[in-house]
Amino acid sequence: MEILKFSFVFDKLSLSMAMLALFMAISISIFSLDYVEKKQAKERRFFVLSPWMFCVFSCMALFSGDWFFFGVFLEMSSIMLFFMILPLNFRTALYYLLTQLSGSLLVFVGAAIMIAERGSAAMGPVPPHLLWLFLSGLGIKTALLGLHFWLPKVHSEAPTPTSALLSGFSVKLGIYGLIRLASLPATDVLMVLGPSMALYGIIQAISQHDAKRLLAYHTISQLGYIVTAIGTGTALGIVAGVYHTVAHALFKGLLFLCIGSIEKAYGTRDLSLWGHGTARAFPVTFAFFLVGALAISGFPGMSGFASKAMIKASLKENSFYTVVWILQAANVGTVLSFCKLSYYGFFFKGDVVRKAPHYNPLLSYKKRIFQNTGMALLAFMTIFLGICPQLLPNFMGMNFGNFFETEALLSAIIPIFTGGILFIVFKKTLTPGKHKIYDLDFLLIKLYGILTLCPTIVAKIHTGKLRQYTIHVIIAALVIFFFLART
């Protein structure tokens, strides 16, 4: 039996991802300095230090040269995040841990089979018959369509720094794995899954009234863009995917931090209780939110514009024109739902004054220097990447022509206008209400009832009656005998 040997891979992909991880850890740990009150020194220390631990494990995962160590560090980073959800909500934390464990265990099984067949499980494309293991394992991490059931619940119920890390970097580890997988049979699957994720996430996001849950569905939708880009399988597509990964990490982290700090002031995530001059009470936070919202909508001059332009270019290069239209439609939806979030979250003045139960204006921006610094770092990076869009493709060794072409600018601005107009038309319909929104996790609760039947059935044979136990012995003996006799 071979001993465990750690092999490294330092290429531009893992280096750029690692830099992203480092940056996320810096800004989120700065943010966390203000997230927990100074009085709770222990918890505060934990929230400041754990992003660094997470960063260490993720970097190890990014630098590991085979699937086994990738799985190990993937699991350890998930466990770190599990501890970060734990102080707020045990059930959500457990839910997260179990889903992520099953994901990384599927990767382990895949790696084991790969080692058994080939002698090594180096990071890279896997044989087609193992694809289902790797795709479903990484898919749980990346929230591929159908395996995304955990994401909205966990993202919305986790503490704010954890949500930002989850959406900002944790899911990106799965994306990194998918990028390494990218080869022919895998890319076909991803090409189908990507656009459908983008659309599904948007459709769910528009109907949400829980601010963080809305953002979580946007994460699914933006992951759809990335998966689509990887699905092209070309070098341009992969660079575009990485670019959008970085961009999305930055602006989605920023958005989660903004929404989270407002949530903390209101004591609720329910959009229908927000509004009434929030923008005036939190002008700095609102400004950061605006940066994030513009970036996610792909406004020219923001990082989202550049990465989306690259994704579209890579799709056109391989003449996936339908997919481009689907992504454009998704982009309209994104704009629509962010109009909703900013309008109802920051400006809305309803007929009835509905105050949130625990509204605490003392938590305003002024005393929160660290909090604002953390967000400012992310916002700065988002704008910086948007102004110098060539930076990352050049680092990855790809020279992408001109970002600010008329066609690209038009294709970015048209969805924004369409979304804005649609929002004005459908403003009434989009008012956050109390309606129930169905997703797979509702189905899962039903399924849970069925799953609990399994132990009940197994428990039925433990009657405590010795005579029945003896009957089991005889049956087992006969089965073994006939099985052996047959062979």
Binding site: M1, L105, A112, A116, P455, L466, I480
Partner: protein
């Protein structure tokens, strides 16, 4: 010669203790401690001498074909080592709690150790049966030692099912004797290929079912949760940690020597039963509210893991199985001692009544959590490593479904162990006054440290070579035969 001493010395102690009790009562306290230490060192030294070079001793000077041969090869040495450590830990735990009080307990205890060592070193199949029955008898007695109604009921169920198993084993041995006229395992390994296939089927079926009952594999495991949860703390630890492993050694030895070439279907049966044990044990543990019963069902599942390793019938699988066995020994001894102490201290075994334990028994809960992390398979700890090698071996042998069951079982076990820990860490009422648990805490803590250490083993080539040698040596039946028949 030293191999004979591993049986003779504990046996002598078992007979000396009553004499000391009658004639020199004041000596008893020191004598028992001395005896325990002596047994530990004799067993360890026998293991070391057998590891360097297969140690044989011919009882009465008869050659292998006629007399009884005691043989310590690497597989035996490894299990001797396991039995010495586990037995020593259980001895210390019981000595710390009981002192010299019930001298009868130590008589049975030393009897158990003597016969376990006998099973591990004997080379004669009927001799193996005799030792096996002595050790089962001692185990029945230890389970029922407290004479509470649970203990007696569990003891009776264990006895009836165990005796049925023993008669199946005896039936198999009788058929072997009828078919070959020989009882030496090396000779049998040579002559069994020449007997009719039907006879071999009957022999294999009766040996397998008997051993499965004794091991406590899933469809016939019913005595195990009763016995392991009703016995006193140290006995539970001994049963789960060592006694079960000795049965697994027997299965390993017999299946490798007798059926590896003649009837490979035996290994399929072992794999299937192992998979069933993993699923059944974990599913049943999910429902338990009694902490010791939960641990007992977890033992059923862990046995399943080991059986999956044995079922590969390859060197890698057997090494992984032994590695998991020794890991499980440390984890379960530690867990049972910690849980048993908690249960006695708090006067309850129901996990709902153990709320808030962390705030009152901090170190116990920390040690318990570490052991739990090890048994679930969190990365740097021993449990993870052994599970990974089991998975690797299973997939190498082409058993993908067991590997998936292993992964699925890990997720379930994370669920129920986290449930226990969530009760420990939640807030609750202060318990009755603490009895100071240094002794138990030290043993459980040492076990936890060993788990941490075992996680490093696969990374160190010289240590890992020791583990992989076990599998290579076990599969190399030709060497075993030639050593045995050398005289």
């Amino acid at each position: 010669m030293i191999s004979l001493l591993t049986v003779l010395i504990p046996l002598t102690w078992a007979f000396l203790i009553p004499l000391i009790h009658i004639f020199r009562k004041t000596w008893l306290k020191r004598a028992i401690l001395l005896f325990g230490i002596a047994v530990f060192f004799v067993t360890i030294s026998a293991a070391i001498s057998g590891w360097k070079q297969s140690a044989l001793s011919f009882l009465g000077g008869w050659p292998a074909e006629l007399g009884i041969v005691l043989i310590v090869d690497k597989l035996s040495a490894a299990f001797l080592f396991l039995s010495a450590i586990g037995g020593g830990a259980a001895f210390l735990a019981s000595y710390g709690r009981l002192k010299e009080g019930p001298w009868r307990y130590y008589v049975i205890f030393f009897l158990l150790q003597a016969s376990m060592n006998g099973v591990l070193i004997t080379g004669d199949i009927f001799n193996l049966y005799v030792f096996y029955e002595v050790f089962s008898l001692a185990a029945y007695l230890l389970v029922a030692f407290t004479i509470s109604w649970q203990a007696i009921e569990a003891g009776l169920k264990y006895l009836v099912l165990g005796t049925i198993g023993a008669f199946f084993i005896l039936l198999g041995i009788a058929y072997i004797f009828m078919a070959t006229g020989s009882l030496n395992m090396a000779v049998l390994s040579l002559v069994l290929p020449h007997i009719p296939n039907e006879a071999l089927t009957v022999i294999a079926a009766s040996l397998l079912i008997g051993l499965f009952i004794k091991i406590g594999a899933f469809p016939v495991h019913f005595w195990l949760p009763d016995a392991h949860s009703s016995a006193q703390t140290a006995v539970s630890a001994l049963l789960s940690g060592v006694v079960v492993k000795v049965s697994i050694y027997t299965l390993l030895r017999l299946s490798l020597l007798l059926f590896l070439e003649t009837k490979p279907a035996v290994f399929t049966v072992i794999t299937v039963v192992g998979t069933l044990s993993v699923l059944g044990g974990h599913l049943m543990a999910l429902r338990q509210e009694d902490i010791k019963r939960l641990l007992a069902y977890s033992t059923v599942a862990q046995i399943g893991y080991v059986l999956i390793g044995v079922g590969t019938g390859m060197a890698a699988g057997i090494s992984a199985a032994f590695f998991h066995a020794i890991n499980h020994m440390f984890m379960k001894v530690g867990l049972f001692i910690a849980a048993g102490h908690i249960a006695e201290d708090m006067k309850t075994r129901n996990i709902y009544d153990l709320r808030g334990l962390y705030h009152h028994r901090r170190w116990f809960v920390i040690v318990f959590s570490l052991l739990t992390a090890a048994i679930v398979g969190i990365h740097p700890l021993g449990g993870f490593m052994s599970k990974w090698y089991l998975m690797l071996a299973a997939t190498k042998a082409g058993n993908v479904i067991p590997a998936l069951a292993l992964a699925f079982g890990t997720v379930i076990s994370a669920f129920y162990y986290m449930r226990v820990l969530s009760f420990f860490y939640s807030s609750g009422d202060p318990p009755p006054r603490q009895t100071y648990p240094y002794w138990n805490l030290a043993i459980a803590g040492a076990c936890a440290l060993c788990c941490v250490f075992l996680g490093i083993v696969p990374l160190v080539p010289s240590l890992w070579k020791l583990v992989s040698d076990i599998g290579l040596n076990a599969v190399d039946t030709a060497e075993y035969i030639s050593t045995m028949l050398s005289k």
